[in-house]
């Protein structure tokens, strides 16, 4: 499904060169639920950006669904992102001027579906996250948990092969976080691959596999220790 | 406020500031050049015609029966006697034209006879009699006025010229540039070979064309013309003009069924018409400059407001770190000062460049140097005023924003 081989990412400014990822290799199979943890500055976010094709990699290869996507142009990358990947963000990133329906509509528009198809999919996803009744509400009228459900609905609307979740419960209280995680687990059970970046141990536990990142590489060290370090940082 | 950090922060968001600077630069370019044109036009409008404009009016008479030279001579003499006899009339003259009328007669004058003379100078010609100087309110500064027996009658389409003439001081200086003393008694040649003896010099009387570069060059000659079309210029005692205009018009109109009186006009109306282009240009450009300043001002307000709201958090943090409200205001004012300074520097260069192009292409006068600093100061003030509102709003941002959300 996802196969990174010796991926490196270097950021350059005028004076400093930062190696965010160094020869990072990872394989994720179809249907997995993987959590990625690590301290601040470990390269989590870079990994997420590259996995989600939001950024280009400096070296190495990245195959998604058996296709080498490191050589695609912007239009092709946008298409892959649109069709195969669903994003869930810590801050939901709903568009405040659009209502729930129109927010979920955004990726479907870029997909080029006709109106009927979009409507069918939006309704199906909203039903799945249990917010059908809120279809005409604006983000500001919803609670944080509801907003994140809308964001998940938006991620699912395109029926992607895998979901990338970035601290999906970071802005939620415990109850809401639980229900969001239940929803993710349920989505994973129905066959969608999920990669979740988080720094919370309890969250990472809900995943089927944990990966710990440090200094831009996958590390084998005991996670507990690093979390302690991260907490004190 | 230290300029360094403000400047470095601006470098992070160059595009927005570059645009404002350019906008200020082009605004200044327009402002300066518009002002230069306005000044030139205002100078035109402000020139004196030489006439006693408030108390002078003109009218024209056209006879439309069979043309008869002897009859015409009698009619003109009668008309002039009639007009000059009206109480309140100071003096009147029959002339081919008058200053500001935008239509008249011009001839080449030269100091040597012959058609090959290279030093010929164009001059307006007015045909008058001994009442011409007083009617046109011309002040004699040298020599003498025409005497009645110098005034001749001219045959239509004949071109024998009177032997005497009175010229303006400006014309005297042009035609005799090296003469230190009096030009009275000197001879100039008109129509290649006809000598004209200068018997007087007047201080000022404009040619009929206000747009002409030689507008101050004028010669009066003592002649009346047998024409069925006559222009009478009438100067009244102060305050009589408005009452006498209809009176004299009726007097002349009723004197014969074979004539019509037209073009009855005060010199003020003539002046207005002569300078329509100039006054209109001044009004248009004033409006343009005002509108432009408002637009640029609003543009600065708009961009500053955006910068403030974009940097809300940053400002909150600064406040939390101890920046005072005036310090925040100063920050934005300084930022605007820097942008304005850059814009006005570019604007200064562009202004001069455009002015050079305009001088070349449209033969305008070059601009006066002091227009540039005036425009700079004006635009600097507009910029500071425009940024004041958004800056004050920025200073009212609560420091608590710094701790809000993540």
């Amino acid at each position: 499904m996802l196969n990174m081989k010796k991926v490196s990412k270097t950021y350059r400014t005028d004076t400093v060169e930062t190696h965010a990822l160094r020869e990072f290799s990872l394989t994720v199979d179809e249907g997995e639920f993987v959590s990625v943890t690590g301290p601040s500055g470990s390269g989590k976010t870079t990994f997420l950006n590259i996995a989600g094709m939001l950024e280009e990699l400096t070296a190495g290869t990245y195959e998604l669904d058996g296709r080498d996507i490191s050589k695609l142009n912007d239009k092709e990358r946008s298409k892959v992102r649109n069709e195969k990947i669903g994003f869930i963000f810590q801050s939901f990133n709903l568009i405040p001027e659009l209502d729930v329906f129109d927010n979920i509509d955004v990726p479907l528009r870029y997909r080029g579906f006709n109106a009927d198809e979009r409507k069918r999919r939006i309704e199906k996803c909203l039903d799945r996250v249990g917010l059908t009744s809120r279809m005409k509400h604006y983000p500001a009228q919803l609670s944080g948990g509801q907003q994140q459900r809308v964001a998940i609905a938006r991620a699912l609307a395109g029926e992607p092969r895998f979901l990338l979740a970035d601290e999906p419960t970071g802005n939620l209280d415990t109850n809401m976080a639980d229900s969001v995680l239940d929803l993710l687990a349920e989505i994973n059970d129905s066959g969608t691959t999920i990669i979740m970046v988080t720094h919370e141990l309890t969250l990472a536990d809900r995943a089927k596999r944990n990966i710990f990142v440090r200094d831009g590489q996958i590390s084998d060290g005991p996670p507990e220790l690093h979390f302690a370090a991260a907490a004190s940082a | 406020m230290d300029i360094g950090p403000v400047w470095r922060a601006m470098l992070k968001n160059k595009a927005g500031f570059v645009l404002i600077a350019l906008q200020i630069a082009v605004t200044m370019t327009i402002m300066v050049n518009a002002f230069a044109i306005m000044q030139e036009r205002a100078n035109n409008v402000g020139r004196e015609s030489g006439l006693d404009e408030a108390n002078t009016f003109a009218l024209a008479s056209a006879w439309f029966d069979e043309f008869d030279r002897d009859l015409m001579k009698i009619r003109i003499d009668e008309d002039l006697a009639l007009i000059r006899g009206v109480p309140g009339v100071r003096s009147a003259v029959a002339s081919n034209s008058f200053p500001l009328r935008q239509g008249g007669w011009s001839m080449s004058l030269q100091t040597e006879p012959g058609s090959q003379s290279p030093d010929s100078i164009g001059s307006a010609i007015y045909f008058v009699d001994e009442y011409g100087l007083d009617t046109f309110a011309a002040t004699l500064i040298d020599g003498a006025n025409f005497t009645p027996n110098q005034v001749s009658w001219q045959v239509q389409n004949d071109d024998t010229w009177p032997a005497t003439g009175i010229i303006t001081e400006a014309l005297a200086k042009e035609i005799f540039p090296d003469e230190e003393g009096s030009v009275v008694g000197k001879t100039i040649y008109i129509n290649d070979n006809d000598p004209v003896n200068i018997i007087g010099v007047i201080e000022r009387m404009q040619a009929p064309w206000p747009g002409w570069t030689g507008v101050e060059r004028t010669m009066l000659v003592p002649q009346r013309r047998y024409s069925d079309f006559q222009r009478y210029i009438i100067r009244t005692e102060p305050g009589y003009r408005d009452a006498l205009m209809p009176e004299i018009e009726a007097l002349l109109a009723n004197s014969s069924k074979d004539r019509l009186i037209r073009d009855v006009t005060t010199m003020e109306q003539v002046r207005k018409l002569a300078y329509v282009g100039d006054t209109a240009m001044i009004r248009i450009l004033t409006f343009v400059v005002m509108l432009l300043t408002v637009i640029t001002g609003l543009g600065i307000v708009g961009l500053a407001s955006f910068n403030v709201s974009r940097r809300t958090r940053q400002i909150g943090i600064r406040r939390a770190l101890g920046a005072t409200k005036p310090a925040i205001v100063r920050y934005f004012m300084t930022e605007n000062l820097i942008v304005s300074a850059i814009g006005l520097t570019i604007g200064g260069i562009l202004s001069v460049a455009l002015n050079m192009v305009m001088v070349e292409a449209f033969s305008l006068e070059p601009l006066a140097w002091y227009v540039i600093p005036i425009a700079m100061i004006a635009l600097l003030m507009v910029g500071q005023a425009a940024v004041a509102g958004p800056a004050r709003r920025a200073s009212n941002i609560s420091p608590a924003i710094a701790t809000r959300s993540s």
């Binding site: 950006n49 938006r154 | 209109a280 609003l298 708009g302």
Partner: protein, 439 residues
Amino acid sequence: MFRYYLKLGSLSIRANPALSALMVAAIAIGIGACMSIVTVRHVMSGNPVAHKNDLLYHVQLDNWNPDDPYEDPNEPPEQVTYLDATALHQAGRAFRQTISFKSDRVVQPEGEDARPFQEEVRATTADFFAMFDVPFEYGSGWDASADRAEERVVVLSAAMNQRLFGGEDSVGRMMTMNKEPYRIVGVLSEWRPMPKFYDLNNNPYEGAEEIYTPFSLAISGEWGSSGNNSCWKPLDGAGYEAYLASECIWIQMWVELSSASERDNYMQFLDDYVEQQKALGRFPREVNNRLSTPAEWMVNREVVDDTVNVLLSLAVLFLVVCLLNTIGLLLAKVMRRTSDISLRRALGASKSALFTQYLIEAGMVGIAGGLAGIGMTWLGLRGLENVFSEYDFISYLMTMDWTMVLYAVLLAIVSTLAAALYPTWRACSVSPATTLRIQ
């Protein structure tokens, strides 16, 4: 997708009403300033006989002073002498030819209390009406035999016919000018060539004359010209005869030639004529004849005043300021929306999709600016009309037509899109990754 972009555009425009209004207003004012001057210039430089521009030619011969050209560097005089006008007209070597000048006459309407009034009359020849496509309401012009016979006939303009005869068909009726009777043979319908291309002396924007009468009749009546009149050497003798025989120029001459070869032939004919005259001791300068189309002639006479060009260049700069303003505001808007942009990128919008979206939004602002700009142009023209109100022809210069309206909207859209390019490019280069984690 287009409709989706329209929806996004209108959402975005409504989300910042003050900013959007400022952008629309800036564009509208810039367009208004430019288009009002462009409109005036367009009317001033119009060509009323554009459809015959390759058929009509203004004739110039250089009979001027051997030591001094008529105008620097070596321009022939803009009018012709009576001698040459009548000789060339009589030769009749062009398909059509007309010679004319204007003269002040006193019209005496019938009726006891009707007051006489002065009017500029055009003394011309039979071909004038056919050459310049002058439209007739009643009757027609006179023919060449009337020219030869010095017939006392006139053609009236629609307005003059209204004034004298209440607009009735007056063909065959009589009128009086300078105590002499004239028979009306034709009445024009509305005709106001702008500019008055056939005689650009004095004021090219004043209307056409209201009365037309045969040239030959005017000469036998010893009419003087009320237009420009220049002489370079003294007359031989006195009186009207001497004037007619002089080198003074005061007559406008036009010919109609139906092909390029006819034009060449006519030019040859003019050159031959001048050579012949040289033998008689006239034309001391080198042969310098000129045939100009109406368009060339109007450019030569600088029908468009410099003032208009000065104003136009300032108006263009004005539009530049307005556009810089718009670029700045659009840019500010884009920078505020980087999170929206990067989110859309993450959700699969390609750069080109965003480019289209933002250009469409700018286009909408442009259309609104253009429509408001039409209003501003109208206001600008009314303003100009107001400051030039002393000119009685001014309202004829201040007319807007559909082409101008179209140009206004087009200019607005094009310039707004041009202004939007940089901000849009900035929008598209927002990385999809940068802002997703900023809260």
